[in-house]
């Protein structure tokens, strides 16, 4: 019976993720805040700093991973509240954690696809070399899950207006970019910024990218992966916790 329930839960997670991919990947807010916004943010900074693009590429990947992974999640639950599809799903034999994990997997796949696409473009046009493909894939997977979990936390705000959630998510995501050593390597940050940087998961992704692309990093690779994994677990747990608190208020 236990294995039957686990199998059922896995099927449910992938059914929800598949549905999210079909419905939400091409929604304008997801494309704007997941793809265009980080690209323009990066270009603006690149123009302003006049640095070689190779030096900025790890930061670009950090932003892409972060925005790509966390852009689908904020949109789903508020939109489904508005379109009144949520109650239909809750009538099925499904738990809140499975529902949220399905949403996270939807964001995760979006993050992985988009990050990989940017990496491929980088490898083709900017002659970047990767120190270890295995570590790179691991970094993409962990960071996509971590940021997809963060994105889903935003959607726990009990509203049926996706724009409210997108606004909140950007209010939180933008400052995170500026404390994460994305544009300036951590060792060049001010002492105050160095104290704050470790609080952001983006710091560890960017540091890993610096290691993989430029063979230099502030933290050790093991520490980066360990802390990213811890962030992933915490953000996923918080996401489920907040949705358990607010999900029924939406119906």
């Amino acid at each position: 019976m236990r294995s039957r329930i686990i199998k059922l839960k896995l099927k449910q997670i992938f059914a929800i993720a598949k549905k999210n991919m079909k419905i939400y990947y091409f929604e304008p807010p997801v494309l704007i805040f997941g793809l265009l916004f980080p690209a323009f943010l990066f270009l603006a900074f690149y123009q302003g700093r006049q640095m070689p693009i190779d030096d900025l590429f790890p930061g670009l990947l950090g932003i892409i991973f972060f925005f790509g992974g966390s852009s689908v999640g904020p949109f789903i639950v508020p939109w489904e509240t508005r379109t009144k599809t949520l109650e239909r799903v809750l009538c099925a034999p499904i738990s809140v954690s499975v529902l949220i994990l399905g949403d996270i997997v939807g964001g995760f796949i979006f993050g992985v696809i988009f990050s990989s696409l940017i990496l491929i473009i980088g490898m083709l046009f900017f002659e970047i070399t990767i120190k270890s493909m295995v570590l790179l894939l691991l970094a993409i997977f962990i960071s996509a899950f971590c940021f997809a979990s963060l994105g889903t936390i935003f959607s726990a705000l009990p509203t049926d207006k996706p724009s409210n959630v997108m606004m909140l998510s950007n209010l939180i995501r933008l400052p995170i970019i500026f404390i994460s050593g994305v544009f300036v390597p951590i060792n060049q940050l001010s002492s105050m910024a160095k104290l704050v940087a470790p609080l952001s998961p983006v710091t560890y992704v960017t540091d890993l990218m610096r290691y993989l692309l430029m063979q230099e990093s502030y933290f050790s690779v093991t520490l980066n992966f360990t802390i990213l994994s811890i962030f992933s677990i915490i953000l996923f747990s918080l996401s489920v916790y907040f949705h358990r608190k607010t999900l029924l208020k939406r119906i």
């Binding site: 449910q12 059914a15 549905k19 079909k22 419905i23 379109t83 599809t85 009538c91 034999p93």
Partner: protein
């Protein structure tokens, strides 16, 4: 007969408001069970608890023998639900919507796809199965939602206002489907505002008011509980100014156009008196009908208000 739904002392509170107050009832396998009540009576809250969307504050729910609290996965596998305000995914096709729901019940593969297509065929949607639901009329969308509720072949089907706001054709189709499903042995739990619909479809009805079950019985037995609502509708060839209320056999009189509706406990005696009255006033009775109390009369009497 086996009780396929058993509800014991079910209670739900929203802060100070008791939406559902210690209700108990059971539904026999194969019944079409009507759940009637005015707005805010606790109907939808009850259905949401029965379908496992909301947890109850107190009480037990058994669905097809499974306690919903202890075995939610098993209990929910036995039910199909058409919630009152739920929609299908507008950006998915009709077929994708049904298959998505099938996946949530762990059903995959070509067999399920075939079943989904059969369902769409039953609901006259076979030509539109690959169209996005956003292109559908409200009636067609409702049919897709019902298909979604049937894909797991449930033993119990909860229908919360399934015909509300639909055109005549869709309403008739859905009513026929309900009867067909019932013929196949499915138990139907039907929440409706439409008293005529409940009267024509249900073999047992519960009336809920202010969170409590006010009555539960077959439609005919419910009507018998209010004998005083037996009435005679009569019209005369010429208007006669007569105070029917003065007769001791009359409970109440209502003027309905050029007719009188006279409520009585003894219809035979009243007909005799009306015949004499017509003769004395040198006129003829144009029409006369005896009317049993309607389910609407029962509803109004038990809920103390308008039918809603």
């Amino acid at each position: 007969m086996q009780n396929i739904i058993r509800v014991e002392n079910l209670t739900k509170k929203y802060e100070e408001l008791i939406a559902v107050n210690d209700i108990s009832f059971s539904v026999e396998k194969g019944d079409i069970f009507g759940f009637l009540g005015p707005n805010g009576a606790g109907k939808t809250t009850t259905v949401r608890m029965l379908t496992g969307v909301f947890p109850s504050d107190n009480g037990e729910i058994y669905l097809a023998g499974y306690n919903l609290k202890d075995n939610p996965f098993q209990a929910k596998q036995k039910i199909g639900v058409v919630p009152e305000l739920a929609n299908a995914y507008l950006d998915l096709t009709a077929l994708e919507n049904i298959l998505f729901m099938a996946n949530l019940y762990g059903l995959l593969g070509s067999k399920v796809e075939k079943k989904a297509e059969e369902l769409l065929n039953t609901f006259n949607l076979e030509d539109r199965m690959n169209d996005k639901v956003k292109k559908f009329s409200k009636g067609m969308q409702q049919r897709v939602i019902i298909c979604m509720a049937l894909i797991n072949d449930p033993e119990i089907i909860f229908l919360d206002e399934p015909t509300s706001g639909l055109d005549v054709e869709s309403r008739r189709l859905i009513k026929n489907i309900i009867l067909e499903l019932n013929d196949k042995g499915k138990t139907i739990f039907l929440t409706t505002h439409n008293i005529n619909e409940a009267n024509s479809l249900c073999n047992k009805i519960a009336i809920i008011n202010k969170g409590k079950i006010a009555a539960i019985n077959t439609p005919e037995n419910l009507k018998r509980t209010i004998k005083s609502s037996q009435s005679i509708r009569v019209s005369f060839d010429k208007d006669i100014a007569f105070k029917f209320k003065d007769w001791d056999v009359v409970n109440k009189v209502k003027k309905e156009g050029d007719k009188y509706r006279i409520y009585t406990d003894t219809p035979d005696e009243l007909i005799f008196k009306l015949t004499n009255l017509a003769r004395n006033h040198k006129t003829k009775i144009r029409s006369i009908n005896t009317l049993d109390p309607s389910l609407e009369d029962v509803f109004i009497k038990l809920t103390g208000g308008d039918k809603t």
